[in-house]
Amino acid sequence: MRLLLQMFWSFFKIGAFTFGGGYAMVPLIQKEVVDARKWVGNEEFIDMLGLAQTAPGPVAVNTSVFVGYKTAGFVGAIVAVLGATLPSFLVILAVAIFFSEIRHLPAAEAAFGGVRPAVVALVAGAAYKIGKTAIREVRGVILGALALVAIAVFDIHPIPVIVGSAAIGYFVFRRDFEVEAGAQPNAEADAKAKANTNADAKAQSVPRLGPEGEADDSPGARGASRRGSAGVRNEDGLRDQDKVVDKQ
């Protein structure tokens, strides 16, 4: 009960201070749900955002349902979505009742002149924090850069970008996790994994379309040559790359 009340209040605050729609809610949820309450972890939060984006409906609503469900089940999902939507419901109701008076309120317009740049900074800051968790190695940097170009330059809808990146992730990273999951990966199994990863990457670069397709060759080839030449275990290799990325 205490958890439910806390969750309602957290999402009520988030709902009440989300101006500018959609992603303006991300920094607030991050602060409240990930940093302060620790209801979801950093990576999990990013995964939720990805799923929230591929489902219909407002990202803010979807994320609140996800966090609520994960934290306190079905009731938690209802409580979280109520908390997130109630502030705007009440405000719009008030606006609808007093419509003509509130339309051109100079003080409100002036306040929003200040809030809009703050929201830009908050969302940019959230992107940076998310990037630190999400992008841990060179292949991630390449994927992220391709996705940014696809969205910001070519104006491609977020859903194909997310689905495309997920597909690339499946073919590029699957072997890493399968090796990790195996009990004792010996040299022979490692070599097989290497060969397969490479083959997968090559096989997949043909059917996929759009700028994302290019991601296959370079990261795949990189990964293979890295593992081949250094002869280190997979995770160590990844950790070395993490350091390089962090320094950059």
């Binding site: 009440a16 729609g21 409906g57 939507t85 002036a110 800051g125 999400a134 910001a152």
Partner: protein, 173 residues
Amino acid sequence: MIVLQLFLTFAKIGLFTFGGGYAMIPLIQKEIIQAHAWLTMKEFMDIIAIAEMTPGPVAVNSATFVGYKLGGVAGAAAATVGVVFPSFVIIVVFATLFLKYKDAPAVKAVFKGLRPAVTALIAAAAISLIRAAFVDVAGPVIAVAVLVGMFKFDLNPILAIVLAAVAGIVIYL
């Protein structure tokens, strides 16, 4: 009767709006203005302007407003619940599957590929907000101040918004 109609119409809008926010505007236009003639185009533009100035998703704001105009508080509630309902059901299904299979190597790999794209999406959102936000020199100054506050002093986002609103009133009023 209008209450049920509002629920169903907005459930349809909620179900077919991907990407949130402004992606749903054409759909609302088609359903609310053309098919049902519940609003005029001018009233709809006013709602968009209000939605930008009030907290919450544009979709939810529009639903509440249209619902109230047509069916009072009950209408507002029906339309708002309607617009949220499809995503609620779908996300609960997604969350159940995600929590069940998140440790499978294939699922881990998918999400490892997806995370950089999510980062890019949010970075792109920040970039797209810049045009409306930076109308004069005060814009970048406020943005830099918020970034410094966020990373040097762990400034709470809610406090940042309140302070920025005060700054806006001081600067622009």
